[in-house]
């Protein structure tokens, strides 16, 4: 997905990456405001892989200290919106 991604497309893409790392999660039942770890197994290796997937997908560098901001869906989307060029619309 090129930069300048619409908001809905970003959300769908992030969820796909999340599922590739943790395939057993139920994306319909996922509560965006909560941390992943409270809803399913999500250990440091999963965070590492999730960060690597986001890096590869969006070409954005994520320092280790920012990993905490990837641990919930809303937090992660906000973080990405700040780091990606302004989207051209939904």
């Amino acid at each position: 997905m090129a930069a300048g991604v619409g908001d809905a497309a970003l959300r769908m893409r992030v969820l796909e990456l999340l599922t590739s790392v943790a395939p057993d999660i139920d994306t319909q039942a996922l509560r965006p405001e909560l941390e992943f770890r409270e809803q399913f197994d999500f250990d440091s290796m999963d965070v590492f892989n999730f960060a690597a997937a986001l890096h590869a997908e969006f070409g954005v560098d994520i320092p280790e200290r920012d990993y905490r901001q990837l641990l919930g869906l809303d937090k992660c989307l906000d973080y990405l919106r700040r780091r990606l060029p302004a989207a051209s619309g939904p």
Binding site: T19, A22, P23, D24, I25, D26, T27, F40, D41, D43, S44, M45, F48, N49, A51, A52, L54, H55, A56, D61, I62, P63, E64
Partner: protein, 391 residues
């Protein structure tokens, strides 16, 4: 050449009883032919004058081959030959397979699951309801059960409405059996002794942060890598903690294959080995670890990875546990457990300062080593962790 039996395909002319110009009546014997059953006289079913003989004595010819021609019969014979060409034998009546149509069983049709699949599912604790059948008419086959089991916690399909909890329990039931068997054998057979030491992990953590900050996401390291490498180096250096206890005696292993306890998603634990962990660079060790966890998660474990660990490392770092008393994986003779890295009061130069404190526990087999050996081994681990750069 007449056909004298269904199994007769050809015959050899032995002798002619007639010559061109002879007048032949119906029923006259005109030749003798050699068959498997012996020499048989050939009668003429036609009357007429012989024009020429087409086959010489001693020649073997197929059934239906013209042997001689009547005067004036050439053209007609040609067509006659065609006419008498053997009619293609009717296709042997293929008996219609009378597959008895059994009455359909009453009630909701029972899912079609092969006995082998049932047996395997029971063995692996796989919940058959969650297994998608790939066989004919949705039949669940052995392969389906195996694929499902390998996929570990993977629910058949994200869209599947099945509630996560019960299938999780189903999935790990068999694994629970395997773990239960190993742990109870360990407790029964191995006289464990335990040693614990606390470590100021701050220098290692700082080193790691600097290392990762200088590298893109995929090349960064997890703390577990340092722990594994430290234990592997110690195991290589001090005998008595790396190898197997079998047939009543300790069998040391020169190579160090570090078993890494990996939680299976949805319950269960496996401890596949990273071979020659003491010799790998940290980056290589990280790659090995990532591959191992990935394979455990997708159920594509290599059998070699399972049985070969010579010592095991178990880190509960993320679970907020201070320290743990791990159980040795038989037939190994030692296991090292790491608790979480927690902010604790730590005395430095007589002053209490906050430090990232890590608790390390060793469980070892008293048939092989004693507390003193254990203490020295543990000290090596701590020394390695205090100098991450040399790991």
């Amino acid at each position: 050449m007449p056909s004298l039996g269904s199994e007769m395909e050809s015959g050899t002319l032995v002798e002619w009883k007639i010559k061109p110009g002879d007048v032949v009546r119906r029923g006259d014997i005109v030749a003798a032919v050699e068959t498997e059953k012996g020499i048989i006289d050939i009668e003429s079913f036609e009357a007429g004058t012989i024009e020429r003989l087409a086959v010489e004595p001693g020649m073997r010819v197929a059934v239906d081959t013209p042997l001689a021609w009547f005067v004036g019969a050439v053209a007609e014979a040609a067509t006659a030959a065609v006419a008498t060409a053997p009619v293609a034998a009717p296709a042997a009546p293929a008996p219609a397979p009378a597959v008895p149509r059994a009455a359909a069983g009453g009630g909701a049709p029972r899912r079609r699951i092969s006995p082998a699949a049932r047996a395997h599912a029971a063995q692996l604790g796989v919940d058959l309801d969650a297994v998608q059948g790939s066989g004919p008419a949705g039949t669940v086959t052995l392969q389906d059960v195996e694929a499902h089991a390998r996929a570990g916690a993977r629910v058949a399909a994200p869209a599947a409405p099945a509630p996560a909890a019960p299938s999780a329990a189903g999935r790990s039931a068999a694994m629970r059996q395997v773990i239960a068997a190993a742990m109870s054998r360990s407790k029964r057979e191995i006289p464990h002794y335990y040693l614990q030491a606390a470590l100021d992990f701050t220098p290692a953590r700082d080193w790691l942060e600097a290392y990762n900050a200088a590298r893109p996401v995929p090349e960064r390291l997890l703390p577990a890598v340092l722990l594994i490498k430290a234990v592997a180096r110690a195991a290589a250096e001090q005998p008595g903690f790396n190898g197997y206890y079998a047939e009543g005696r300790f069998q040391p292993s020169t190579a160090v294959h570090a078993g890494v306890a990996i939680a299976v998603r949805g319950g269960g634990l496996v401890a596949p080995a990273i071979t020659e962990a003491d010799r790998l660079t940290l980056a290589a060790l990280m790659q090995a670890l990532t591959g191992l966890v990935g394979r455990v998660r997708t159920g594509r474990m290599r059998s070699s990875e399972f049985g070969s660990a010579t010592i095991t490392v178990n880190s509960l770092g993320e679970e907020g546990i201070d320290l743990l008393y791990p159980i040795i994986q038989p037939p190994q003779v030692a296991i090292v457990g790491f608790g979480s890295v927690l902010e604790r009061a730590w005395v430095v130069d007589g002053r209490v300062v906050p430090r990232a404190v890590l608790n390390v526990t060793l469980a070892a087999d008293h048939r092989v080593t004693d507390g003193r050996d254990g203490a020295r081994f543990l000290a090596r681990v701590l020394r390695h962790l205090a100098a991450p750069a040399e790991l």
